[in-house]
Subunit: 457 residues, 2 copies
Amino acid sequence: MKQLIFFAAMLSVCWTMAQPASDDSSAIKKISDEIFMNGTAYSNLKYLCKKVGPRLSGSPGAALAVEQTARMLREAGADTVYLQPCMVPRWVRGAKEVGTAELIDGKKIKLNIVALGNAVGTPAAGINAEIVEVKNFKELEMLGAEGVKGKIVFYNYRMDPRYINTFQAYGEAGAYRSQGPSRAAALGAVGVIVRTLSPVLDDNPHTGATRYDEGKPKIPAVAISTNGAVELSKLIAAKKVRSVFIKTNCQILEDVPSYNVVGELRGSEFSDEIITVGGHLDSWDLAEGAHDDGAGCVQSIEVIRALKALGIRPKRTIRAVMFMNEENGLRGGTKYAEIAKEEGKKFIMALESDAGGFTPRGFGYSANATQSNKIEKWQSLFVPYGAAEFKRGGGGADIGPLRTLGTALIGLNPDSQRYMDLHHAKTDVFEAVSERELNLGAVVMTAMVYLVAQYGL
Amino acid sequence: MKQLIFFAAMLSVCWTMAQPASDDSSAIKKISDEIFMNGTAYSNLKYLCKKVGPRLSGSPGAALAVEQTARMLREAGADTVYLQPCMVPRWVRGAKEVGTAELIDGKKIKLNIVALGNAVGTPAAGINAEIVEVKNFKELEMLGAEGVKGKIVFYNYRMDPRYINTFQAYGEAGAYRSQGPSRAAALGAVGVIVRTLSPVLDDNPHTGATRYDEGKPKIPAVAISTNGAVELSKLIAAKKVRSVFIKTNCQILEDVPSYNVVGELRGSEFSDEIITVGGHLDSWDLAEGAHDDGAGCVQSIEVIRALKALGIRPKRTIRAVMFMNEENGLRGGTKYAEIAKEEGKKFIMALESDAGGFTPRGFGYSANATQSNKIEKWQSLFVPYGAAEFKRGGGGADIGPLRTLGTALIGLNPDSQRYMDLHHAKTDVFEAVSERELNLGAVVMTAMVYLVAQYGL
């Protein structure tokens, strides 16, 4: 009897291994047709952007987003939909920021600024100080305490347009937003202005989280639009600026309860093997969070909907997860991994879409050699969808904490050209998303989830 | 002496063949950096869209576009800039179209229509007739003359969203716009309404050329917005429509003189070998023609500018060409090939960008086996720019007539997801173009032109 079971198991393995690629091609084609014909990602995104709107962690918008994506997951046909409670930080911007450069000739120039996320506010009277411009940290260090003390530091680092992948440029320039305040504070600065992380010249300052080093003074920090940075730099070079005034009204309140939203499609054969597919539900307060990351959320919901609509019962369990608090705390992703550790199930793969709802180009994955080799065998299946750029390395912020469970982490890599233009800015709205691009992303995500669900990793 | 020349020639061939790829990689990287740092394609496009605007053949806008792109080519550093005269058709839309469905209950519903390009207008009083809807030509033929005679035929063919490449869907659906009027007229129809060729549901009717078969009656033809088509179809299905009224004011005037604009960078070694790179200068009257095809024009100008700025003197002659009248006559492309035949030079390659200023994905080429093999050897050089999808088959409408000269024809293939949403519609404006996507297209075009200029085909 044992032998028979072994034989049957071997047969099953062989059958699985021998699955002709054409079956997978045709399953993926069905998924694609279903999504392009009947997809709801775009209408769900419209709801999330226009009816819910901005949804920074702890805000009423975030609470509404939890409720509404739970509804969408139920409507998509998830077997079970549930919430995972987690505490989240509550940062509030308060009244609109005021920034002014007072010139030598007495004129005043308005500075187009927004407070950086997680930053402290200025005193109620604002701060008024001399300004000193640096192009990079090296120039800051050269100025030293004597050049910086009591002043506002203006980091005028231009995001390098020469990188083809804009995330590389973002990674480099991002240091000024994240480390800039504490490094300036260490030298006695009273505030910082950071040039917006965007390759385009326009009037939209982009927010985004900063962080303060332990034990350093916490000073106010704002982003200025790229046009504003260029103009301010010219005025400084011409020695026309007497002082700069900044007033921000942001503050960090007590942590509040919030949730990850999870929708599950139970596996028919290996229900204890969990495939996670997600995006993050929170967004910055300035915009609708359409690309960042409404897109990833509605695409993950679409994975469930498309499989269900096609009557595909996955062999392994699929969980679509709307992670809370990616932007300024990562509490949702952290909590999800904590719970996963306690569940005692196999979290075999997690796929995140958090690089915008643009045309997909492929996937990046952080996985062991066996997992990576298996993923790479599927590469050719993605050629017809233009998403066959498979690269080792990658994943996503929210799924990162799963790595310690041996989970293969996969990040969807969409085309990156337009993302940084609108990232964390008020222009990240529904209208900036193409229905077909969003759907195509959902197609290749569903295809990847489908393959892992059927064949394991 | 002959032997020595032969030996030298062989050496030269071997040297050329042995060019290490890394030299080419680094040349292309320099081109890319130059374009992303100092490119003028985007500002030139802004000028073409906002200062020149719509530029249908024979219009004042087209004349201004000739003048201004000649200026841009001079500023880009072309050795010589000249105009190639050609006669072009002059179709004018006239006053805004009126379309109304009169319902059984006496109500009137506005139809969101625009005349198709090259169509005849209605009589001054308009036409009023019963409407008959068909989903495709098969349904039309089944109705026959008795079902169609004296009526307005409504082609409600939905562009198939299941094609990943939207040009395939366009190719299929395009038959209704181009052949629809004559096929309906052959059965006695008095007018046609064609559902807009777009995968999205919105209120923007898209124009585009239709054509009349010789010897068939020429009947008025309009496009209706996709939302309008859906609504009209519902009314017809509910038997609520008594009649439809259409009034269009378009007419075909006498041919008028116009021009192709040519800017040349003379080859240092093989100046008689000509590489053509171009887009078309004319655009439909409803929009700014940003993607169609301002993008291709300014990218072609950028090829000249980037090489000149980098001090690269090509071995073969490069001609950037702004072709006139692609949209409704192809007179510019035809004239260019006519002149080429008379010139007695070798037109070794022509590259056209006329599929929008979106992220480039690769190239399609119609060339002989030797040429194709050579092009394919360069494929890996385009991987870092995400434009390594090399496919046999392709080219461009304007460069098509060069095929009889043995010219290798190459078409730039950008990502196609967003193109049909705005193609020939009022939404094809400067704001719909991404600076980085436009520049990246110019980078890979310049790279391809550079390789052919240095190594021949």
